[in-house]
């Protein structure tokens, strides 16, 4: 079985309310899966649930065959999952290089190959590696955040709205980097507000509404779907 992520009938939320009311999804090895949906559909919540950041009351999550439901985030990191939050996702008062170093906190031994890999993916960062992350532009900060997550060489990379607030040029660049990362064998699950662009670029997509699955399929199929079009494309 080549599915890196399997989420089954997930129920959970913050406090007593269940934001997620039975969400299921899978992601295969080296696949980009995008989660879209209207505001409040539970997209980011579903992603946080994978990372153990909220109370899961039902269902299960497995990563590469290991059941990680209810694990502490630091153990999930060790299981090969990295998560890039939407906001405050860099150490602002640390240099770009130190941010990457923190990403590799759980690794020991020679990290030069990992640095090379990240700096090859993000040449901009190599130039600015001594700069404080807080002094970078929004797009560059997003790259630092992704680079930090990639330092652990995860099996599964979770990105929460990586293009929020970025210019179209940066959005395209981030998407391109996602493809490059995928091509190195990493599975990427991302939440996106820009549904149209995201579906066009992803391998597969899930449309959530009111905390449950609404549609799923390849990006192209979903873009062609009338209902999805009505939801997002102003149809």
């Amino acid at each position: 079985m080549s599915d890196i992520l399997v989420m089954r009938d997930l129920v959970g939320g913050y406090g007593d309310a269940n934001v997620l009311q039975g969400v299921s999804m899978t992601a295969a090895k080296a696949e980009i899966v995008v989660i879209v949906g209207p505001n409040g559909a539970g997209k980011s919540t579903a992603m946080k649930a994978i990372f153990g950041l909220l109370k899961v009351r039902g269902g299960s999550i497995t990563v590469d065959g290991t059941d990680i439901t209810g694990w502490e985030p630091n153990r999930i990191v060790e299981a090969g999952v990295c998560y890039v939050p939407q906001v405050s996702n860099v150490f602002r008062e640390m240099t770009v290089h130190e941010n990457l170093e923190m990403g590799a906190f759980l690794r020991s031994g020679d990290l030069s190959a990992a640095y090379d890999r990240v700096y090859t993916l993000f040449p901009d960062l190599k130039e600015r590696r001594k700069a404080l992350a807080g002094n970078l532009s929004g797009g560059q900060r997003q790259m630092v955040a992704m680079g930090r997550a990639l330092m652990l060489e995860p099996k599964l990379l979770l990105l929460d709205e990586p293009t929020a607030g970025l210019s179209p040029r940066y959005m395209e660049q981030i998407f391109q980097i996602c493809r490059d990362v995928r091509d190195t064998g990493v599975t990427i699950v991302l939440v996106e507000q820009h549904a149209k662009q995201a579906l066009a670029f992803a391998d597969r997509g899930y449309v959530l509404a009111s905390g449950a699955n609404r549609h799923e399929g390849t990006g192209a199929d979903l873009l062609a779907d009338r209902d999805v079009a009505d939801m997002f494309l102003g149809g």
């Binding site: 990372f51 985030p73 630091n74 990191v77 060790e78 990295c82 998560y83 939050p85 405050s88 996702n89 860099v90 150490f91 602002r92 008062e93 640390m94 130190e98 170093e101 923190m102 990403g103 906190f105 759980l106 930090r148 652990l152």
Partner: protein, 290 residues
Amino acid sequence: MGALEIINFYLVPGIVIGSIYALGAVGITLVFAILRYAHLAHGDLATLGAFLALGAVTLGGVSPYVALPVAMVLTAAAAVMIDKAFYAYLRERPKIVTVMASLGVALMVRAVVQVVWGVDSETYTRGIVRPDVWFGIRIRDRELITILAMIGLVLALHVFLQQSKWGKAMRAMSDNPDLALLSGVDNKKVVMLTWIIVGGLCAAAGVFLGLNYELKAMMGWTMLLPMFAAAILGGVGRVEGAVLGGLIVGIAEEMSTLFLPTEYKAATAFAILLLMLLVRPTGLLKGKVL
């Protein structure tokens, strides 16, 4: 009044007491930034360190400078134990509850000192030390050592925070705790490490205060206000800011006696604290505001 008098009677004592404040303020700023609460037992932990060194001096017959590392290790251990016993289980509660617990710890630590060592003033060594004169500037050995030890300890801490893996983890925890946890940093280890460092610095502040003045059960508590003023003046979370803040508060306190009765030295620190909160709460070096 000539320049030399100003230097000898105000600037040198100001730098000495400022160095002591700096040692304490660095600890306060670390707790404020990493653990995210105001630690009100900080001064009394310094008192404990000073008296533990006195114990080593009287029992072991060693000089206070030999007793200093002993006291630092013991106070660090005490700080870790206090955290485990009284603060650790409050971590999920609003931080202000831990501030309250630390007020209780302040009282408890002081009570222990008062029970074990009594309430009379003590000194490490007896006799009057005459200052050496360098180009008209009068300074005693112990004053010079206080200043140098502060510089040495802060530099060592700086190198640790900038270069070592766990030092970076501490900075990361101060910078963005959620992301540090997501990166796999073990919060418990960072907390323990912070208390080891803070406990050691507290002891150093206490020992040097005892060395330059005298040992009293209230010595640390009265130092609390200037230490906090220094940490906020420098910018919460800024180690170099805490040093700068400590020196400024120390010198300002000594200089204030030019205009104010000596009893009101403590008011200087208070005025600095309020002024900073009023005009620039992030401090001189742009620190955090909780």
